[in-house]
């Protein structure tokens, strides 16, 4: 990441670039922008480009082949359209993967505490899910010298699904407790707001009977 440029600014720049790309309908300009993006994306450019091509391949192929068949049949085939749509999708995917490779997503979402909170939680759980699935897959493979029967696979999948959910909930519960210990949950959210009208000056007194506090009336 370029020093001095905040992750949130990168996020905004990425959004602006994406919107701008969808207003361009000249294939040569999209090619030029793709070349510029490739040149600017540094050492990992070919890795990012490969990811972008693979991510869009199946959908673009399905749409392109479908369009080619229908348009040929109707006599309205346009090679320029195929170039335009495929280049646009490729450039958008490249920009997305480049952004994610360069910028910490959690940092980029810091401008909103709620968004940051939710993204942190979800990203943590997704990571936990991925680890659990890999552990299960490796454990199953290590316990089966020969290829297991379909019935065994089904039984394993059912047991794995239940275990996965239970374990995932336990792990998320630990995260939630850690978040509570760091003050993430607002235990006093249901209390009436301390406006001047209900705040007896000059000494503050809790008005809610259920609130436990170490406060002692002087």
């Amino acid at each position: 990441m370029v020093r001095g440029v905040k992750a949130t600014h990168w996020l905004l720049a990425y959004f602006a670039a994406v919107v701008a790309v969808t207003f361009i309908h000249a294939p040569w300009l999209l090619v030029a922008l793709l070349v510029v993006a490739l040149a600017m994306s540094g050492r990992g450019r070919w890795k990012i480009a490969r990811r972008a091509v693979l991510a869009g391949l199946t959908f673009n192929l399905a749409v392109s082949l479908g369009y080619a068949a229908v348009a040929q049949w109707q006599g309205s085939f346009s090679a320029r359209y195929l170039m335009l749509v495929n280049l646009r999708v490729l450039l958008l995917l490249f920009l997305g993967f480049w952004f994610v490779a360069r910028v910490n997503l959690l940092e980029a979402c810091r401008f909103s505490p709620t968004l940051g909170f939710v993204v942190t939680l979800a990203a943590g759980q997704i990571g936990a899910f991925a680890r659990l699935l890999r552990d299960f897959r490796l454990a199953f493979a290590s316990r089966n010298a020969a290829a297991p029967a379909l019935q065994d696979r089904a039984r394993h999948a059912a047991a794995q699904a239940v275990q996965l959910l239970d374990k995932s909930v336990c792990m998320a519960a630990e995260t939630a407790l850690a978040m509570r210990s760091r003050g993430c949950f607002d235990d006093y959210a249901d209390l009436p707001a301390m406006t001047p009208a209900n705040q007896p000056a000059p000494v503050w007194r809790p008005r809610h009977g259920a609130v436990r506090t170490s406060y002692r009336k002087p």
């Binding site: 990425y14 749409v63 335009l84 995917l93 997305g96 979800a122 949950f185």
Partner: protein
């Protein structure tokens, strides 16, 4: 049923972002107050499950993809607002990390799958649960797939009408409603049946652990 990046015109996705922005603000209102250390782990686990389900997708001829959503189980367990937010997050992460869906299509995808899907699921469940709870869950899950499928097909199918050159060549998605409606909807009738089975299983799991809110 993600709409991929680059197939929606700005005339579609910019107004969709405005609508989704309002919906996200509505859904996020009081979010921190509704989340506690009991809800958070369940929501996080179900969101991660929906994320995993959404990644197992196959392209279908209408230019979209077929996959289970998991939005019905989110909606039945946590309500429409949390389900919409959680599913929007799932879509954003899928598009940024895997290129599945896309940033330009995020708002339309979120409104169709996250909001319409979860609202349809909750309404169907509330309407049918008196007859038979399992059937109500299954119907809710089926509807939560088919209704977003219909909306996605409509959003894609109108692209040649609203974004084309003077000679009629499309600029974004090339197929009209006569192709997108059957191509997206027919596979989703069957995907909805699979989603129904899956949601019933998760519903029973959640009910055994007393998580249910709907």
């Amino acid at each position: 049923m993600h709409i991929p990046d680059g197939f929606l015109s700005p005339q579609t996705y910019l107004p969709a972002y405005a609508a989704a922005g309002l919906a996200w603000a509505w859904a996020a209102r009081g979010l921190r107050r509704t989340l506690d250390e009991e809800t958070v782990p369940r929501l996080a686990a179900m969101t991660a499950l929906a994320y995993g389900l959404g990644l197992v997708m196959v392209p279908i001829p209408g230019g979209s993809s077929g996959h289970a959503l998991g939005v019905a189980m989110l909606a039945l367990l946590f309500g429409v607002r949390l389900a919409f937010l959680a599913y929007s997050l799932v879509l954003a992460l899928q598009s940024l990390l895997f290129g599945a869906g896309g940033i330009t299509a995020l708002a339309v995808n979120a409104l169709a799958m996250g909001l319409a899907g979860s609202a349809a699921a909750v309404l169907a469940f509330r309407g049918l649960r008196r007859l038979n709870e399992t059937a109500a869950v299954a119907a809710a899950a089926w509807l939560s797939v088919v209704l977003p499928g219909l909306l996605v097909a409509l959003a894609l199918g109108v692209q040649p009408l609203i974004a084309h050159k003077e000679d009629g060549t499309p600029l974004f998605f090339p197929f009209g409603l006569s192709i997108t409606l059957p191509a997206v909807l027919v596979p989703h009738f069957f995907i909805g049946a699979g989603e129904a089975v899956l949601t019933v299983l998760v519903w029973r799991f959640a009910k055994a652990r007393k998580w249910c809110a709907a």
